[in-house]
Amino acid sequence: MDYLLPLDLAKLLGPAGAMAVVVLLGIGFGFVLERAGFGDSRRLAAQFYLHNMTVFKVMFTAIITAMALVFLLSGLQILDFGRIFVNPTFMWPGVLGGLIFGVGFIIGGY
């Protein structure tokens, strides 16, 4: 069974073409983050002072949307989930790193 996705960009477009697609994805990422108001550190910090829940809303809507699309298309055997990178779990380094990251986020965003 041949899956359509994920594409093998390096084979289809060559290494430079693959990087160009990554730049485009980055542009989309940066554009949406700015449009959501994430260019303003006060808005990011406000999440943690419960003034403004934009971060939660954007982040979890994004996770659920992408999750639904990924698992729908892999269920339909269009997307090969075996070739999708899933972050390996290193529980305690992840939790410790997360705590430090959260603290840094508050200090840096103040």
Binding site: A36, M91, G94
Partner: protein, 189 residues
């Protein structure tokens, strides 16, 4: 925008500079939907999610490799980062960061938000904010290195493909953030 929309006080009173007018920003749920589609596109086109800290880490590691190769050789984690022959330009995360900067700039320019400014909390000077930003950024760097990713590469991308570790990271980020914010709330409010 009609006044009295149900949610989210804009905090304008507490801030020396009010937040940019909300109407220029996308609705958070629509922005989330758009971000989810971009994230899915990344998985569908490249097999990877989105990332931010990895690209920056790679640039720093490669620079260290140029400036202090002996030090890098002694540190397996750093040495692992400089094995590529083409340097930073071979790393897709670096290109993604370049794209993020272009995309953010484009969005800001089109919305008329592009200007030099130091956003800060209600009670601190720009100098303090810059110093804190540097310290906080360094902590985020350490946290992201330990956790193998930041809110983009670990929480957002890993969360979307149901990585258990990504959800643990996410909870820890909010846990650490809320804990400190709770302790600091008097300074902010």
């Amino acid at each position: 925008m009609p006044r009295g929309k149900k949610e989210d006080t804009p905090m304008a009173d507490a801030n020396p500079r009010p937040l940019p007018r909300e109407k220029r920003f996308w609705d958070p749920y629509l922005a989330g939907l758009a971000l989810g589609i971009v994230l899915f596109a990344a998985f569908a086109l490249t097999g990877h999610g989105l990332g931010a800290s990895g690209g920056l880490a790679h640039i720093v590691t490669e620079t260290q490799g140029e400036l202090a190769p002996e030090h890098v050789a002694l540190n397996p984690e750093l040495a692992r980062g400089v094995t590529g022959e083409g340097g930073i330009l071979d790393n897709w995360l670096v290109w993604m960061v370049a794209g993020v900067i272009i995309g953010g700039l484009l969005s800001g320019l089109l919305a008329g938000r592009f200007k030099l400014d130091t956003y800060r909390g209600p009670r601190i000077t720009p100098q303090t904010r810059w110093a804190l930003a540097l310290i906080g950024g360094a902590l985020c760097g350490i946290g992201a290195k330990l956790a193998r990713g930041c809110t983009s590469g670990q929480a957002l991308s890993g969360g979307a493909v149901l990585s258990a570790g990504s959800f643990a990271f996410m909870l820890a980020v909010f846990g650490g953030g809320y804990l400190l914010a709770y302790l600091l709330r008097r300074w902010w409010n």
